[in-house]
C-alpha cells in the first residue's frame, strides 16, 4: 500500500488519529487509550497485516513521553509508525505483548528506562538495571551524581 | 634379552631375602611397590597431560607449551606444583566428610586397577586369575567416587554432572564388558598373563579378524565413554555445566580427579593393548621364526608402552576432533547401537572360536 492508502485505511479504522507530515515513514499519532485497539486492528486486518514490529521505544520530550512503535508488514512490505503521547507523571498504556511477542521484552526495557507502565503486561520488572535501581535513567531530567560523571 | 624388568625385580627379591628376615624383606618389597606405583601415577599424569596439550596444539595449528623448561617439558611440573600449593577449599554447605573422601575413592579405584596390568614380561603386581573381570569390577568403584563428589558439593551443576556420568559409565560398562568377553572366549582364560600368552603367535586383532575388530572398535568407544572423555564428556561439559561434578573442587583435590582421569585413560588403553594388541608381546607372525626373533630384541616394556600410548593417542584424537553428544544421544548410542551389536558380535565370536575359524 502506498502512504496515502495506508493513511486512509488507518483513518478508517480510527478517526481520531492525526498524522505527522515529515519523516520517511507514515507517522500516526493516536491517543494512548485507543492505541491497543488500533494496533490489534493493524495486526489482524488482512490487507494491513502489520505482523512485524521492528522497533518499540519511547522518547522523553520533557513535557510528555511519546511511545513510538515501528510496524511493518512482511506480506505487503509497507511500514507505519504509530506514536502515542503519555503524560510524564503517570505514564500508562496498554501492553501489546500478546499481539507481538517481541513487545514483551521491549516494553520491559521501556519500563526500565522510562518508567512507562504497561497495563496487563505479564511480567513487568526491571530488565536491564538492578531491581533496587531508583529513577528512570533515560528520562532527560535524570540525575545520578554518583554514577554519572558529566563531561 | 638380558635386560628386563622382571629380572631386576627378581634380583631385588633375592637380594632382600638373602639379607634380611623374610617379613622385613616383604615389607620392604611392599614399600617399593607402593613407591613405584605412586611414582608411576605421578609420571603418568605428567606425561599424559603434556601429551594431551601437545596433541591438541598440533591439531589446532599451534605450538603448545614451549616456554617452561626445555621445549616446555616442565609445564606440567609447574602446573602440578602450583596445584599442590593452591588452596583446597571445602564449600561451607557441602557434606565435608564425603566431599573430602571422594577424591580418595577415585584415586584408590584407579590405583587398584594397576594391580593385574602386565607392564612388561613377568612384571606384574598381582596376576589375579580373573584379571579382566577384576579390572572391570574395580574400575566401577570410580563411579561411586564421582557420584559422591557430585552430591557432596552441594551444587546443582555438580549433581547434574555426577548423575550424567553415573548413568553414562554404568551404561557403557556393558558394551565394554561384552567386548572384553570376546577376547576371553578366544583365549579361554581371564588372567592377563594367559591372555597375553595366547597371543604368542599373533595378536588377537589379527588372529580373530572380523569379530575381534568389531569388538575392538566397540571397546574403544566404550572406554572413551567410561573415562568421561570427549565426545562423551558430558559430566564435565564445560559449555553446559561449567565443570560438572568437580565444579567445587580446587587445588590438590581437583588435581586428584584430574590425575585419576588420565591414569584411567592409561589403564583402559593398557587393557585394550593387552587384550587386542598383545600387551608386552612383540609382534609375532605365525611361525616366521626369523621375524619373530628380531622382534623379540625390542624390550617387552617398550612394546607395551608403545601400544598403550598409541591407543591413548587415538582417544586424544577423538577428543580434539569431535563435538560432544547430547545425553539422550549418548545413551541411545549405547542402548540402540553398541549393546545389540556387541551381543551379536559375541555370538559371532563364539561361533568363530568354536569352529576354529581363526588363525
Amino acid at each position: 500500500m502506498t502512504r496515502e492508502e495506508l493513511q486512509a485505511a488507518i483513518t478508517n479504522l480510527e478517526p481520531q488519529v492525526t498524522f505527522e507530515e515529515a519523516g520517511e515513514f507514515l507517522n500516526a499519532v493516536v491517543p494512548s487509550e485507543l492505541c491497543r485497539d488500533l494496533m490489534q486492528a493493524l495486526h489482524n486486518m488482512p490487507d494491513l497485516s502489520m505482523d512485524y514490529m521492528f522497533c518499540l521505544t519511547c522518547v522523553d520530550w520533557k513535557t510528555h513521553l511519546t511511545m513510538v512503535y515501528h510496524l511493518e508488514s512482511t506480506a505487503h512490505g509497507h511500514q507505519v509508525v504509530i506514536k502515542s503521547q503519555l503524560n510524564r507523571e503517570n505514564p500508562e498504556i496498554e501492553t501489546l505483548s500478546d499481539i507481538w511477542r517481541t513487545a514483551e521484552l521491549l516494553e520491559r526495557e521501556v519500563f526500565d528506562l522510562f518508567g512507562v507502565r504497561f497495563i496487563h503486561h505479564p511480567d513487568l520488572r526491571r530488565l536491564l538495571l538492578t531491581d533496587e535501581w531508583e529513577g528512570w535513567p533515560m528520562r532527560k531530567d535524570y540525575e545520578d551524581p554518583i554514577n554519572m560523571i558529566k563531561l | 634379552m638380558e635386560f628386563s624388568l622382571a629380572s631386576i625385580a627378581d634380583s631385588i627379591d633375592q637380594w632382600l631375602n638373602a639379607h634380611c628376615a623374610s617379613w622385613l624383606a616383604l615389607t620392604i618389597e611392599f614399600v617399593i611397590v607402593g613407591v613405584l606405583c605412586i611414582g608411576l601415577f605421578a609420571v603418568l599424569g605428567l606425561v599424559l597431560i603434556m601429551m594431551e596439550r601437545k596433541v591438541s596444539a598440533y591439531m589446532q595449528l599451534r605450538l603448545g607449551p614451549n616456554r617452561v623448561g626445555p621445549k616446555g617439558m616442565f609445564q606440567t611440573v609447574a602446573d602440578t606444583l602450583k596445584l599442590l600449593v593452591k588452596e583446597g577449599l571445602t564449600p561451607a554447605g557441602a557434606d565435608k566428610f564425603l566431599f573430602n573422601l571422594a577424591p580418595f575413592v577415585v584415586m584408590i579405584a584407579s590405583m587398584l586397577v594397576l594391580a593385574p596390568i602386565a607392564f612388561a614380561k613377568d612384571f606384574v603386581i598381582w596376576d589375579v586369575n580373573i584379571g579382566v573381570l577384576y579390572v572391570s569390577a574395580v574400575s566401577s568403584i570410580g563411579v561411586i567416587g564421582i557420584l559422591m563428589a557430585g552430591w557432596a558439593s552441594n551444587n546443582k551443576y555438580s549433581l547434574l554432572g555426577a548423575m550424567r556420568s553415573g548413568a553414562q559409565i554404568v551404561s557403557y560398562e556393558l558394551s565394554a564388558g561384552l567386548s572384553i568377553l570376546t577376547i576371553v572366549i578366544f583365549s579361554q582364560d581371564m588372567s592377563i598373563s594367559s591372555i597375553i600368552n595366547s597371543q604368542q603367535d599373533g595378536w588377537w586383532i589379527f588372529k580373530g579378524h572380523i569379530p575381534v575388530i568389531i569388538s575392538f572398535v566397540i571397546f574403544i568407544i566404550a572406554v572413551t565413554a567410561e573415562t568421561n572423555r570427549a565426545p562423551f564428556d558430558l559430566a564435565e561439559a564445560e559449555s553446559e555445566l561449567t565443570a560438572g561434578f568437580h565444579t567445587e573442587y580446587s587445588g590438590m583435590k581437583f588435581a586428584l580427579f584430574f590425575l585419576a582421569e588420565y591414569v584411567n585413560i592409561f589403564i583402559v588403553c593398557a587393557i585394550g593393548a593387552t587384550l587386542y594388541l598383545g600387551g608386552w608381546m612383540p609382534l609375532h607372525i605365525g611361525n616366521w621364526e626369523a621375524f619373530n626373533h628380531i622382534m623379540d630384541y625390542i624390550p617387552s616394556s617398550v612394546w607395551f608402552l608403545g601400544k598403550t600410548f598409541f591407543l591413548i593417542f587415538v582417544i586424544m584424537w577423538f577428543r580434539w576432533t569431535f563435538p560432544r553428544l547430547r545425553i539422550d544421544q549418548l545413551l541411545n548410542l549405547e542402548w540402540k547401537y553398541l549393546l545389540p551389536i556387541s551381543m551379536f558380535n559375541l555370538l559371532l565370536a563364539t561361533l568363530v572360536a568354536i569352529q576354529g575359524w581363526y588363525f
Binding site: - | L63, V85, K86, E87
Partner: protein, 184 residues
C-alpha cells in the same frame, strides 16, 4: 582478601642465598620454586564481558597461542582458576557478580584488568549511569593493560608482567616491566 601475604613479601628475591640457618636457606628456595610454579601455571577464569573478550579469545587462538606460557587451561569455575582476566566493561549490575567470583576463587589469585573499560571505565567513563569506573573499585587488580581492545600481544605482555610480579614474590616496586616491541 589480600593476595599478597606479608610472609611472601619478606622472602628474598630469587637467587639470593641466605647464609644463615639451613632452614632459612631451604625455605627461601622452596619459595622460589613455588613462585616459579605459580607464575608458569596461570590458569585463567573464562571471564569476558564484552569486546575485549574477543581479543582474549584471539590470544588463545592459534596465532598468539597463550598455551605456550601454560595459560591455556581456561577453567569455567573460579575454584580452579588462578587469574581472572577482566575482559570488558563492568557495569553496576555485574559488579557484585565479579566480586563474588573473585571471592570464590581459591588462593592464590591474581587479577588482570584488560582494556580501557576494566582499568577505568574507558569509553563509558563520562555520561553513563551504569558503568563501574574501573574494576579496581570492585576487586584488587594486579596488572592493568590499556587499549580498546588491547591487542592479543598486549594481553600476553600483561601476563608476562604478572609472571614477573609473581616471581618477585609480589614486590611490584622493584620490578621493571620489560618491553619487547619498540616501534622505531
Amino acid at each position: 582478601m589480600d593476595v599478597k601475604e606479608p610472609g611472601y613479601q619478606q622472602q628474598p628475591f630469587p637467587g639470593d642465598v641466605h647464609p644463615t640457618a639451613t632452614g632459612g636457606l631451604l625455605v627461601s628456595r622452596l619459595d622460589d620454586v613455588i613462585n616459579w610454579a605459580r607464575s608458569n601455571s596461570l590458569w585463567p577464569l573464562v571471564f569476558g564481558t564484552s569486546c575485549c573478550a574477543i581479543e582474549m579469545m584471539s590470544t588463545a587462538s592459534a596465532k598468539y597461542d597463550w598455551s605456550r606460557f601454560g595459560f591455556e587451561v581456561a577453567r569455567a569455575t573460579p575454584r580452579q582458576a588462578d587469574v581472572i582476566i577482566i575482559a570488558g566493561t563492568i557495569v553496576n549490575k555485574m559488579a557484585p557478580v565479579l566480586k563474588r567470583l573473585y571471592d570464590q576463587m581459591a588462593d592464590p589469585k591474581y587479577v588482570i584488568a584488560m582494556g580501557a573499560c576494566a582499568t577505568s571505565g574507558g569509553p563509558f567513563f563520562y555520561n553513563t549511569y551504569s558503568v563501574v569506573k574501573g574494576a579496581d573499585h570492585v576487586i584488587p587488580v594486579d596488572v592493568y593493560v590499556a587499549g580498546c581492545p588491547p591487542r592479543p600481544e598486549a594481553l600476553l605482555h600483561a601476563l608476562i608482567t604478572l609472571q614477573t610480579k609473581i616471581q618477585a614474590g609480589g614486590k611490584r616496586e622493584k620490578i621493571v616491566i620489560e618491553k619487547f616491541y619498540d616501534n622505531q
